[in-house]
Symmetry: C2
Subunit: 154 residues, 2 copies
DNA sequence: TTTGAAAAATAATGACC
DNA sequence: GGTCATTATTTTTCAAA
């Protein structure tokens, strides 16, 4: 059995665990009662499994999903980065200070990294790209792809 | 005041609303009590505001965040699509049937669309790209960018 | 909007099978 | 793992200011 960076052993999830995760991804506010009923296990079992999954960092959090447009973020874009070094840690730390960066990924291939950026409007997007991203040491270039429409799967 | 597709009027969010959204994005399981305390409003006020934000679809759901790697999805990639027509609705409907597609976006620029794909392993990713995505009518080509590491912001 | 009160549901724990 | 019982919290609604 291998270990993950967090130190917890890589749990082997059984079918019940997977069903619990599916239910909680669909509705993170399910009560333990309702969860246990849907997965057809006891409340105590549901309780201990959710606790274990949370402790082992399989479940990393519970979040409200907010509609970006409805909450004032009307412009979204994917921005690819070409960077000089392999200092992903430093780059990531830098990117985490930019609230408009919703998701970041280190890539293989033509682009070194790609960012999902959500901003209030085109001007704010422009500011993020030109004044924040291109100001980061090591960032050699950016390309911006405006998002016309997007959706999560579920 | 404009209307959004859903039919609800575009709510003008005040500062209290924004603080509520920030708290619930950080912890979607905050009790109304704790939320009211953190935002420094009454329970009744917190209750009615969360209800309104949910009714107006500013809050679109509550989800558990599951670590893809820890839950058995060890390979992630961004896959760009070049598509023939502008039938985004049909394409989107097709993509929604592929569970490995976590996020999809219709783009402007060199690529027509981009997908965040999370699969069990490289073989599963290959199957998704070659047998599911390239089998969709109208999809002319794909490019796959493997993700070495990724993170949400918060 | 706030505060207080109160009923119903749920969380959380422990004892025991 | 499951079941039962118990206590603490929270939700949810209502009334009053």
């Amino acid at each position: 059995m291998t270990d993950r960076p967090g130190g917890q052993p890589t749990a082997t999830l059984d079918d019940v665990d997977r069903r619990i995760l599916a239910e909680l991804r669909a509705d993170g506010r399910l009560s333990i009662r309702a969860l246990a009923e849907r997965v057809a296990i006891s409340r105590a079992n549901a309780y201990s499994r959710v606790e274990r999954l949370t402790r082992d960092r399989v479940i990393t959090g519970f979040r409200a999903v907010v509609d970006p447009a409805a909450s004032g973020l009307s412009t979204s874009a994917y921005v690819t980065l070409t960077v000089r070094q392999n200092s992903w840690r430093a780059l990531r730390a830098e990117l985490e200070t930019i609230p408009e960066v919703a998701h970041m990924a280190l890539l293989g291939g033509e682009f070194d990294a790609i960012l999902l950026v959500r901003a209030a409007d085109n001007a704010a997007l422009r500011t993020v790209v030109l004044e924040r991203l291109q100001a980061i040491p090591g960032v050699l270039g950016t390309r911006t792809f405006l998002i016309f429409e997007d959706a999560e799967n579920p």
